[in-house]
Symmetry: C2
Subunit: 149 residues, 2 copies
Amino acid sequence: MPKMSSKESALNQFRDKCSEHGLKVTPQRTAIYEEVLHSKEHPTANLIYKKVRKKLHNISFDTVNRTMITFSRLGVIRVVEGYGEPKRFDPDLEPHHHFRCIRCNGIIDFHEQTFDEIDIPKNISKQFTVLHKKVVLEGICVSCQEEKV
Amino acid sequence: MPKMSSKESALNQFRDKCSEHGLKVTPQRTAIYEEVLHSKEHPTANLIYKKVRKKLHNISFDTVNRTMITFSRLGVIRVVEGYGEPKRFDPDLEPHHHFRCIRCNGIIDFHEQTFDEIDIPKNISKQFTVLHKKVVLEGICVSCQEEKV
DNA sequence: CTCGGTGCAAAATGTTTGCAAGTAC
DNA sequence: GTACTTGCAAACATTTTGCACCGAG
């Protein structure tokens, strides 16, 4: 087996992912992939757009945005807080946890005492003021599962 | 001590909260407070707006939106997913957890094996397909603490 | 060559801001 | 009476959509 740099292997992984899902390997997608995989700051599409533009001078924002949504569908990257949704409010201040449906964006509260009791790691509490803790589970809710089999 | 209905006591609590923070008790705020406290669906400002409009016919969306932001600052309600922010992406698919600064919206990754190992409650896994789990801590990050003392 | 991908422009959606008029205290 | 609130309208930010052209396979 020939040796390859981590850059090459990452690129190959990317090609595989694409062909696996019937996606074409375009320079835009490659550049976006490289940029987003090296970013540590949980970037928005806009931030990646700005960075990728340095290489691909006239790439459009849509391409970046659409590509990143595509990537998150493939499971190459993940969408985290925020989720691009309008602000939502919760009047329940008691400890509880959330299941979030990635399809309909619904949030279901649940209670679980063992989760309420988790200890905040010292390296976090040393640096930050923690006001709230919760467990967030993500997946597909009942109604969304039934909708499309 | 005179008895009072839970409605009265909730209203009194609300009045207290307001005077505590130097806020005036207006009909709009009262109506919004009542609506949001009884909602179970993690409503957006827009949803509350639609509901409150049935009582206060010509309340504006801004008032609802501003009031709810005010309430969340007072700690009467809490902002949950989504946070009204643009979509953000995370290339790290390995188990890890998030500290989220409620002031600057920054997300800091951290690792904690005991968190990775939490068990999904049966009543959740029975109903839903759970694809991902994480602990989300919220509070104020170092730089935001330093900024305003 | 073909179909999916891209760039552009416009529309849709959600949020924020400035200000004059109104109202709780 | 005063300062805080409200409603309105406009500005702003972000996301989505439609379509003609382009290029990877």
